[in-house]
Amino acid sequence: MQSIPEIIRTIPLTHYVILSSALFCIGILGVLTRRNAIIVFMAIELMLNAVNLLLAAFSSYYSDPSGQIFVFFIMAVAAAEVAVGLAIIVMIYRNIQSIDIGILNKLKN
């Protein structure tokens, strides 16, 4: 029975890097181009998870558990962030009947 790090190491490191870079870029593009607040939110989660993936991969390759501990931290923070973020989005919707971020320019002036 192989341990999980060994299984992870069966795939070359470069593949992980490429995959998470791709995921991260997709996330950035999502944040930049979409106007729906929920989609933007999901894109942000995607970026976070791209980073998580990379951290886990490097952690296995270098046999350093601190990378994986970071992953847990990020997950916990992301969960909290989702809770707060979704609540904000719900409140915005109740106020202006829309979740289009283009309408939200009240900060100006």
Binding site: V31, L32, I101, G102, L104, N105, N109
Partner: protein, 626 residues
């Protein structure tokens, strides 16, 4: 001796109580609170005087300034000179406080007035008690401040405020010289303690620029003691209430310059050319003041010019190294000039604030006490024996006779002028017919007791004040000269003089003849000075004080005003405003431009954020790789 610090502290306390409680403390109470501190201080000073054993004592209260090697303590010095000054200040001061209770009784600001008077006494005591030039300087500036506050006491009138500022600014010019002198002393001796400096000099450590130091100190004295060219503030200072003129501008503050020169006599003795200068400035001031006094018609102005002139005599005495004689004159002058001013105040009070002697006359029956005391003061200042002024002025003249016969001759001339203008004022005020209005005649009255008691006490001192330094030929022991001797350089005796010699006879003639002349012109022929418009020729020039005020106006005030206007309207407007407002405008413009970047669009912000992070990342990677 531990009660010494109480002497200046009490007036300060009086100032604090009256100053803080000004509108709330009732007028009669404010007067009493104001008068008690100088009285107690006088009693304490008397105690000091009686127990004084001839040794100089220095009482250090605390460290004051300590920078590097420089250490200036807050210390008091008790010696023969400061004790005498203490007696004069607190003694005359108490009488004038008492007088003010009557004189200022109708004034709304009585409490404020007493607060200022107490503050003045406090600073004056600090001035004479200080054990170094720096503590003296605190008092020096403090009395200047109080002088300013009290000259402008009736500040509803603009001209009074102007007089106050004039006094303050003129004094400031002198103070600059005094400060420079102190700095030069610190530069050479490393501190300003009298004891250290004078013992260093006696040990042979004489600075090369001792003449310059003495000169700088004398410039300070010129301002404070109203000598040419800084004397014009003193006559204007008569805008203040009359007790102020008596206390500050006759008896005490203006003699601070003489006190300081006597205190620093070691420095002055080392620079004979400066002493020579002091003497001639004194002579010129004495003559100029006396000449202007001849034709003035304002009773207080005459006394003011007389003060200028008498201060000139004191400086003449200093110039001839006759320190104890000058100090003698300081004391007797404090008595008779305070008396004359208070007498004039009593007259002004009775005349409903009329000060023009052409409107007076015939007051002797209406106010007998003022009449008699004013007469005694006049005789004293004219130098008629055996009154106080005779002894003190004659001692100065006798020293001058040995020092420089030319100065002596001119001083005799000044003395004759003094006698003439004082009798002129006296006769025009008290003899003849009343020349004022009906209303004033109806109002005429003798002043209340609180005003006449100080007059009587001062009159006694004006008559008998000469006893404190009665010369040997008159059967005295020169008490004051002996008392001060340890602090002064050795002076050669004057030798024997007799009443028949020229030395003695000329001053007597100068005292008597002009007095008779004045009695003849104003008493017998009953001539009254003509109206302002009718004055012509040289008399007009003198009447207008030789146009010195106008001259200063053209030479100094106008150019400075012009320059200030130039700076205000051109430099300030075009240069400073342009620069300062330019910065403001620039920031405003830049921020309007930059504000456009803040659109409020969330997508735009996110885009900028991503771009920025990418740039930072790129730069970070670049520096990491390279």
């Amino acid at each position: 001796m531990s009660f010494i610090y109480l002497i200046p502290l009490l007036p300060l306390l009086g100032f604090a109580i009256n100053g803080l409680g000004f509108p709330r403390i009732s007028k009669s109470l404010a007067g009493i609170i104001g008068t008690i501190p100088p009285l107690v201080a006088f009693i304490l000073s008397m105690q000091l005087f009686l127990n004084f054993d001839g040794t100089t004592q220095i009482l250090t209260l605390s460290e004051w300034i300590k920078v590097g090697d420089l250490s200036i303590p807050l210390a008091f010095q008790i010696d023969a000179l400061s004790i005498m000054m203490l007696l004069v200040i607190t003694g005359v001061g108490t009488l004038i406080h008492l007088y003010s209770m009557g004189y200022m009784a109708h004034d709304k600001g009585l409490g404020k007035f007493f607060a200022f008077l107490n503050l003045f006494v406090f600073f004056m005591l600090i001035l004479v008690l200080g054990a170094n030039f720096t503590v003296l300087f605190i008092g020096w500036e403090g009395v200047g401040l109080c002088s300013y506050l009290l000259i402008g006491f009736w500040n509803q009138k603009n001209s009074y405020g102007d007089a106050a500022r004039k006094a303050f600014i003129m004094n400031r010019i002198g103070d600059l010289g005094f400060l420079a002198g102190i700095f030069l002393l610190i530069q050479h001796f490393g501190n300003t303690n009298y004891a250290d400096i004078f013992s260093a000099i006696q040990a042979g450590d004489v600075p090369d620029n001792v003449g310059l130091i003495a000169f700088c100190l004398f410039v300070g004295a010129m301002g404070k003691s109203a000598q040419i060219p800084l004397f014009t503030w003193l006559p204007d200072a008569m805008a203040g209430p009359t007790p102020v003129s008596a206390l500050i501008h006759a008896a005490t503050m203006v003699t601070a310059g003489i006190y300081m020169v006597i205190r620093a006599n070691v420095l002055f003795e080392l620079s004979p050319e400066v002493l020579h200068f002091v003497g001639w400035i004194g002579l010129a001031t004495a003559l100029l003041g006396a000449a202007i006094g001849l034709f003035q018609n304002d009773i207080k102005k005459v006394l003011a010019y007389s003060t200028v002139s008498q201060l000139g005599y004191m400086f003449m005495g200093l110039g001839a190294s006759a320190y104890s004689a000058s100090f003698f004159h300081v004391m007797t002058h404090a008595f008779f000039k305070a008396l004359l001013f208070l007498g004039a105040g009593s007259v002004i009070h009775a005349m409903s604030d009329e000060q023009d002697i052409r409107m007076m006359g015939g007051l002797k029956n209406k106010m007998p006490i003022t009449y008699v005391t004013f007469l005694l003061g006049t005789i004293a200042i004219a130098g008629i024996p055996p009154f106080a002024g005779f002894f003190s002025k004659d001692e100065i003249l006798a020293h001058l006779y040995h020092h420089d016969p030319w100065m002596w001759g001119l001083a005799i001339l000044g003395s004759a002028l003094t006698s003439f203008y004082m009798f002129r004022v006296f006769i025009l005020t008290f003899w003849g017919e009343f020349r004022g209005t009906e209303k004033q005649a109806h109002h005429l009255h003798e002043s209340p007791l609180s005003m006449t008691i100080p007059l009587m006490v001062l009159a006694v001192f004006s008559v008998g004040g000469g006893l404190i330094n009665l010369p040997h030929f008159a059967g005295g022991h020169e008490f004051l000269a002996t008392w001060l001797a340890p602090l002064l350089p050795e002076s050669e005796g004057l030798g024997e003089v007799s009443f028949l010699s020229l030395e003695m006879g000329a001053p007597l003639m100068a005292a008597f003849l002009p007095a008779f002349l004045a009695i003849y012109i104003f008493g017998v022929k009953k001539s009254v000075p003509s109206e302002d418009a009718a004055i012509s020729g040289i008399q007009k020039v003198v009447y207008h004080k030789f146009y010195i005020d106008e001259l200063y106006d053209v030479l100094f005030v106008k150019p400075i005003a012009l320059m200030s206007n130039f700076f205000a309207q051109v430099i300030d407007f075009l240069v400073i405003d342009l620069f300062v407002e330019g910065i403001g405008k620039g920031v405003q413009y830049a921020s309007t431009e930059i504000r456009k970047a803040q659109t409020g669009n969330v997508g735009y912000y996110v885009f900028l954020m991503v771009i920025s992070i990418s740039i930072i990342l790129f730069l970070g990677l670049k520096s990491w790789i390279l």
